[in-house]
């Protein structure tokens, strides 16, 4: 039986958010020229990466604490803590280098897409075996990454095959251990960023040979984020017109699919703007190119992207994907060269 889910348990954004965003865009455009700009690497680390990693670690720790005391998957404090921590992850999900790649931490936080359905299989196996070793931090860290992280926890909290799975006691303990594992992992990422990785990016002389390489790494993460958006977050559920795949939407069980698109665009925009390094003309074009898909994504009113299978709604998602691809093209053609990044001879056009 396919899992049933109710409407999202709370509203992710309100119409007033739109005004805030437009206001924020106006502010940034109006004030940037008069500011004395800091080094862009410092700016990106201090204003974006480090606070976002801290928020991820802190919200994950909160989730672990709530999950240790509340077991009922529908409990609103638990869901709220889960949503906050997952939001914090989506905001950094493009920063896939360095601390996130050590020990496969990012994959253990976010095993998605899961084209072979490994996550539910792994979780079902865990529940069948009821192995107490999995309830320890070391035990779960050794287990399959498909059964760890935010996407696995989503099954435990939102999929009816798991929300009431037996044995009850073990399910409670397992979800608590999964949340604790997320907290351990995100704390390690945050610690590495704080203790060493940010400094390695600021004083490029080892891992990065010079500042250009650092900027190129950040540029690559911007591209990674946009590609993930267009090809995975939108592309996978869109499938083809004849064969849309709504059940491939990211985190549809918790009604987060649309929300992730908004979050990702909102965290990629400041990165792109910072990388434009004060070039006002380019910044204006980037802001316009981000604003279109952000507004469209906010207005979709389709939390699970079910519209991919509805011809009357599908075109809006296709248009959104196109706007994101336009944004990629602009970044490739206008932002890349200023950072010494040319389109790849081999990567663009393989054989």
């Amino acid at each position: 039986m396919p899992p049933k889910t109710g409407p999202p348990s709370y509203v992710f954004w309100k119409a007033s958010d739109l005004k805030h965003i437009i206001f924020a865009l106006a502010i940034s455009a109006a004030f940037t020229p008069s500011l004395v700009r800091a080094d862009i690497v410092d700016e990106i680390l201090d204003d974006q990466v480090l606070p976002a990693m801290q928020a991820l670690a802190e919200s994950s720790e909160d989730l672990a604490q709530v999950a240790a005391t509340i077991c009922r998957p529908g409990a609103s404090p638990l869901r709220a803590a889960y949503h906050r921590a997952f939001d914090a992850w989506v905001r950094v999900s493009h920063l896939r280098f360095g601390p996130t790649e050590t020990n496969n931490r990012a994959f253990a936080l976010a095993f998605w897409p899961d084209s072979r359905g490994k996550t539910p299989k792994t979780l079902a196996k865990h529940l069948r075996s009821a192995d107490p070793a999995l309830l320890t931090p070391e035990g779960i860290a050794q287990s399959s990454i498909a059964g760890r992280g935010f996407y696995a926890l989503e099954f435990m909290y939102f999929d009816q095959n798991f929300t009431s799975a037996k044995p009850h006691e073990y399910r409670c303990a397992l979800t608590a251990a999964m949340a604790q594992d997320i907290a351990v992992n995100t704390a390690a990422i945050h610690r590495d960023w704080q203790d060493s990785y940010a400094d390695q990016m600021r004083n490029a002389s080892g891992r990065y040979q010079d500042e250009t390489e650092v900027k190129q790494e950040l540029f690559k993460s911007l591209n990674t984020g946009l590609q993930l958006l267009a090809d995975m977050r939108l592309g996978r559920p869109l499938g083809s017109f004849d064969k849309p795949r709504p059940k491939r939407a990211e985190a549809w069980r918790s009604g987060r699919s649309q929300h992730h698109i908004v979050l990702a665009l909102q965290s990629l925009q400041p990165l792109a703007i910072a990388l434009a390094d004060g070039d006002q003309d380019l910044i204006a074009r980037l802001e316009a190119a981000f604003q279109k898909p952000i507004l469209r994504a906010l207005r979709l009113d389709d939390p699970r992207l079910e519209g991919v299978a509805d011809p009357a709604k599908r075109f809006r998602l296709e248009a959104l994907q196109q706007e994101i691809n336009d944004l990629r093209a602009l970044i490739e053609s206008d932002l890349g060269p200023s950072l010494g990044v040319l389109a790849g001879f081999n990567s663009l056009d393989g054989d």
């Binding site: 499938g239 081999n346 393989g350």
Partner: protein, 361 residues
């Protein structure tokens, strides 16, 4: 009347005395195609340290190349749908012959010489009939076309020579994708595609055909490497939906089932579904695969199949066995040595290196 071929044959014959050899060029280690900053194309010979030892201009974008076993002649293959393969005297860049595929065929961009250097084989698309063919060219007669045989599948791409107990054989990566020049590079048969790795005798007799499980039928087997023990490595390119979790590198020892490496390791996703070039380390204990899309080289242990190292290298594609591990080239002009756990840039040239580094053996 002196025919073009007759003239070329004479030219080749006269260049045999005194016998020229690769040593005249300081023994280059690799051949590779590249693009100049001005947009023109060339074939280059590189030393083991990545220094350019010679360059020859090409009329269009190249792909791979084949080196004659003894004479300093290289055949530079055009990128598919290839309309030319230029035979070049690598001592001075003189074009010796231009091979053109027969009507209704195009080259795929790879080829090789027989061990005695008497024949050249080319992977070809017989596009009107949707069949893969191997073209045969007689070297001593000015690279005259003398025939062709079936490749054992659709879309033969890379091809290597392998020594078996019954003598030398061709290992052919039949990528499985049907294309037609009228449709550009469009893939015409994805729902039905069935790639394979075929082993053929030098006269075209099929000896073995390796196919993967049906659920991997969209995983195009495209590039090959061979270890000193005769084990084949094959790199694949996924044609299905992005985000699928799939192996992109396998080992095949004829007579045994294929061994897919790093299956289930999430880091395979860093390859973005695309294995570019593949090579074994000299001892055969590790095998590496490049992904220009992911900007990464993954090194795997052949015994366990585990990924033991990922090297981040932007726009990397060319890869070959080197003395202490691997050598890689990038579209940004870098030549890098990958040894153990380190990647070290050997050289940087103001060129975009194309897909492959072809070892001269």
């Amino acid at each position: 009347m002196t025919s073009r071929r007759g003239f070329l044959a004479g030219l080749l014959a006269s260049s045999l005395a005194p016998t020229p050899s690769w040593a005249d060029l300081g023994r280059p280690a690799f051949l590779t195609a590249a693009k100049n900053p001005d947009g023109s194309y060339l074939l280059a010979g590189l030393s083991e340290a990545g220094a350019i030892q010679f360059t020859c201009p090409l009329p269009g974008r190249g792909h791979a190349a084949a080196a004659h076993p003894t004479r300093p002649e290289a055949v530079a293959f055009a990128r598919r749908p290839g309309r030319f393969a230029d035979v070049i005297d690598c001592r001075n860049g003189t074009p010796l012959a231009r091979l053109e595929p027969p009507k209704g065929h195009h080259f795929y961009g790879h080829g090789l010489f027989t061990p005695d250097g008497s024949r050249l084989f080319t992977t070809e698309n017989d596009y009107e009939n949707g069949r893969g063919r191997i073209g045969i060219w007689e070297v001593a007669r000015g690279y005259r076309r003398i025939g062709s045989f079936d490749s054992g599948g659709i879309g033969p791409h890379d091809m290597l020579l392998r020594q078996s107990q019954s003598g030398p054989q061709l290992a052919i990566a039949n990528g499985g994708i049907e294309t037609h020049p009228n449709s550009g590079r469009a893939k015409l048969n994805l729902p039905q595609m069935r790639p394979n790795l075929s082993l053929l005798s030098l006269d075209g007799q099929v000896q073995e055909v390796m196919e993967l499980a049906p659920e991997l039928h969209l995983n195009s087997i495209r590039h090959l490497a061979i270890s000193s023990q005769g084990i084949l490595g094959f790199a694949m390119q996924w044609q299905g939906d992005p985000g699928a979790d799939l192996p992109l590198l396998g080992l095949y020892e004829p007579g045994t089932p294929p061994d897919l490496l790093a299956e289930g390791d999430p880091r395979l996703r860093n390859m973005r579904g695309y294995g570019g070039s593949v090579a074994f380390s000299p001892d055969g204990l590790t095998i590496a695969v490049t992904s220009p899309r992911g900007g990464v080289v993954q090194v795997m242990e052949t015994s366990s199949g585990h990924i033991i190292k990922e090297h981040a290298l932007r726009d990397v594609c060319g890869l070959a066995t080197a003395q202490n591990g691997f050598i890689a080239s990038t579209g940004l002009g870098a030549i890098a040595a990958l040894t153990g756990h380190t990647a070290k840039q050997l050289r940087h040239h103001d060129l975009a290196w194309d897909n492959h580094l072809v070892p001269l053996t």
